[in-house]
């Protein structure tokens, strides 16, 4: 079986090389047949990598411990659910997973556009094939997951030496979210390849018009959405598994995933300047380039051990490959830009400081500042060692000092920006649009302060959050009222109608509202409480409104782990409200201990209880309880962001109907493709 996987992987590499070479030959010689065969090779990569991934999964499920990768990351007692996820738990597998998701994207891009953009797509195919060649090189020749345990004898015959049982999956990863978190984050990372390919293709091929920007925008939204989900799931995993009561620590690995998200966000906003006003073309192209490069840089940082040396992650030479690849990308981008710079000339100038344009400019300015600060802070140990010889790391205070004001400024822009007119907004219009929401925000701030919500930044965040929510609400209300009075429907139906008529605009508002919820959740952070105590049966801990009574300590075990478990009864105002069972587990295969946090999540606060370990002096269990306010808002906000993005990706209702009538007699496949460009071109004129 492993031979099948390894062979498929090698064929995939060859197919990608063919797609690259034949693609270039097709562009140079202008032979459609060559171009088509390059495209088919590009699509074939997907099926070949699929075979490799399927083979590796099969080997995991059949406990084939003759394969080094399976033996390292799985064991017989591991639940099937986690055997599936074990695929991407190590370096070889996660790089294979990268290739797989990338080839999936590439397949869809090539397939959906196979009859469209004949001048653009050959370039896109070549660029995506180039990226695939890099990852498939790693898969095949540097970090191959199909490595067999065994040795060669003198005659050159391999003797396979299977081990009886594997070393097991890292217990930190044995959590149900770990099954979906890496795919989501990787779908984000790999997804940014597609906008990169389109932007570079348009620049290299001097593709006329702005159509590529609409395609790029949609693919960026898809990648951005996955990246958002991936980041939030990662934060939730850190919260629920690591047992330290927090969800974000400005760790290099977290920062690496945040960087492309930030530049992607900046692009999704500044791209509107190009669509509507023909401005910022150079900026946009470079934002797309930089986003992709940050994805590669992030992978480099987490793989190379350059940064994590302080964090005691292991070193690996694979980082150099990423560095070389990054250098090549940068060189290609600079070459394409300097060759075709004139193609990106701006059509318009900034007219007024109080305008939609300038709100986008400020949005981009501070997003880039945030990106720079996070990058700088993450790389600081390396930079300081280069310049001073001392390795200096910076901690959360650095990141928070810079990013909290930026985040609040962005929140303000979220409320103000969408309501400003293009070119110039009058003072009158400002007053009309913002007086009420601002008053509402301040009122909410006063009420909250009276109830003890007294922290400077958190209070500002709350005021702005309410302000933004009210401006969004008023936008929906005003639009819906017009429709309701004209069609004679009720307001709620009208809201639905309004949203579906301009999904991009109202989807955007919903995403903004989701971000408001995330921000409010983060604003709860300063009000966190915690207490730690050694406990015997019958002892109590008091935290906030809760009193936790220790009922029992016992042990549970299965084939996978043994656990010390506490049975805790929680009282609120003297009444018993729930039972919590935090555990301290010893995973047998890997001999690693982990805590299993018990979280009781209410809308306004989480009670978070950790079985922290046993006191070395007395042998009594140590229980650590946290009261984390508003954390649930963050996860809920994430769901709203996803729904908003899904909505914004949907075609507009009225236009879709009109187009269907035209398209039906023609060709069916256009139906799917329709969703991508023409509608968004037209829709963009509506908002």
């Amino acid at each position: 079986m492993d031979v099948l996987g390894a062979f498929a992987l090698l064929l995939a590499f060859l197919a990608a090389v063919y797609a690259f070479v034949a693609g270039i030959a097709g562009i140079v010689t202008k032979r459609p047949l060559l171009t088509r065969s390059a495209r088919n090779a590009g699509m074939a990569v997907f099926f070949l990598v699929l075979v490799a991934v399927g083979t590796l999964e099969f080997l995991f499920f059949t406990d084939n411990f003759s394969l080094a990768y399976v033996a390292e990351h799985s064991n017989r007692a591991l639940p099937g659910f986690y055997k599936f996820a074990a695929l991407w738990s190590g370096q070889e597998g996660s790089l294979l997973w990268w290739s797989f998701l990338l080839s999936t994207y590439v397949f869809f891009v090539l397939f959906l556009n196979r009859k469209k953009h004949p001048e653009l797509m050959p370039w896109v195919g070549v660029i995506t094939a180039g990226v695939q060649i890099f990852f498939l090189t790693l898969n095949n020749f540097v970090s191959n997951p199909f490595h067999i345990l065994g040795s060669m004898n003198a005659a050159g015959v391999m003797h396979v030496a299977a081990v009886a049982d594997g070393r097991g999956l890292n217990p930190l990863l044995q959590y149900y979210e770990m099954v979906i978190h890496p795919p989501m984050l990787y779908l984000g990372y790999t997804g940014f390849t597609i906008p990169f390919a389109f932007a570079l293709a348009a620049l290299l091929g001097r593709y006329p018009g702005e159509k590529w920007i609409h395609i790029t925008r949609r693919w960026t939204m898809i990648a951005w959405c996955f990246q958002s989900v991936g980041i939030l799931l990662g934060a939730h995993w850190a919260y629920a598994v690591l047992g330290w009561g927090g969800y974000w620590a400005w760790d290099p690995v977290e920062n690496a995933s945040l960087l492309p998200w930030i530049t992607g966000t900046a692009f999704l906003h500044s791209v509107m300047m190009q669509e509507k006003r023909g401005m910022m073309k150079v900026w946009n192209v470079w934002l797309v380039f930089v986003t992709f490069m940050l994805c590669i840089l992030g992978t480099f940082l987490t793989r190379s051990g350059v940064i994590s040396s302080v964090h005691a992650f292991a070193q690996s030479s694979i980082g150099n490959w990423f560095l070389v690849f990054l250098g090549i990308i940068l060189a290609v981008c600079i070459f394409a830009y300097s060759k075709n710079r004139d193609y990106l000339r701006s059509d318009n100038q900034l007219d007024s400081l109080v305008s939609r344009e300038s709100s986008f400019l400020f949005n981009n300015l501070v997003l880039l500042a945030a990106c720079f600060a996070v990058l700088w802070g993450t790389l600081f140990p390396v930079i300081s060692e280069w310049f001073t010889g001392n390795k200096i790391s910076v901690g959360p205070p650095f990141f928070n000092k810079v990013n909290v004001p930026i985040a609040l400024f962005l929140l303000l822009l979220t409320g103000v920006g969408p309501l400003l007119a293009w070119r110039k907004t009058s003072t009158d219009a400002l007053r009309r649009n913002f007086a009420l929401p601002l008053a509402g925000g301040i009122l909410a701030g006063i009420v909250a302060a009276v109830f003890g919500f007294r922290d400077f930044y958190s209070l500002i965040c709350l005021i702005l959050g309410v302000f933004v929510t009210l401006t969004i609400g008023s936008e929906f209300y005003r639009g819906a009222r017009v429709i309701a009075s004209r069609d004679g429907t009720n307001l709620l139906t009208a809201v639905g109608e309004l949203t579906m008529r301009n999904t991009r605009r109202y989807g955007g508002y919903i995403i903004h509202f989701g971000m408001v919820l995330v921000f409010i959740g983060i604003a709860g952070q300063p009000f966190k409480q915690d207490i730690q105590k050694e406990m015997s049966i019958g002892d109590r801990i008091n935290i906030g409104p809760y009193s936790i009574l220790c009922q029992n300590f016992d042990q549970v075990s299965n084939g996978n782990y043994q656990a010390d478990r506490a049975t805790l009864e929680v009282f609120e105002d003297g009444k018993s409200v729930m039972m919590l069972y935090p555990e301290h587990r010893l995973y047998l295969a890997s001999q690693v201990t982990e805590t299993m946090v018990a979280i009781e999540s209410a809308p306004l606060r989480d009670l978070y209880v950790v079985f922290a370990g046993k006191s070395p002096e007395t042998g009594r269990p140590v229980i650590h309880a946290y009261l984390n306010p508003l954390v649930k808002f963050i996860w809920f906000g994430g769901i709203v962001v996803v729904l908003g993005t899904a909505l914004a990706l949907m075609p507009n209702k009225r236009l879709a109907l009109a187009l269907r009538a035209v398209e039906q007699p023609t060709w069916q496949g256009q139906e799917v493709a329709r969703a991508i460009s023409p509608v968004s071109t037209k829709a963009s004129r509506d908002d």
Partner: protein, 152 residues
Amino acid sequence: MKANTKFVVGSAIILVTLTLLAYVGYTQSKTYYHTISELSKLPASQLHQRMRVSGNVEDGSIQHLESSVNFVLVEQGKQLPVSYVGRDPLPDTFKDGAQALVEGRLMPDGRFSADQVQSKCASKYQATPGSAGAMPSGQSHNLTAEPAGPAS
């Protein structure tokens, strides 16, 4: 003033403010990373800054006291006495011979006062608060890249 000029002025104000904030944050949180042998060569001005030091826990050196846990870190034959004064229980991987990373300050008596201890046994790495990443690959990476050593 033209809109462009106004925008440039506005941007400059924002960027200068952010730079100042970054500087304040930097001075509050910068942490030096030193090896034990480097400590004896440090100039006095740098000696009592917040820093991270790594080494192996000397066998039999762990003492649990009333208010702290004392142990000795060894690296390349050099020793560093450490008092752990943090609130969190020490990670389970913290035992004789384990690799440990301590964060804190060097006291005038030459003893290192640590408020954070991270440790790692032969092949695994255990996270204490805030040290682990959100992406699993970094974590699992240790498992892959290091040869199977003796279980700690």
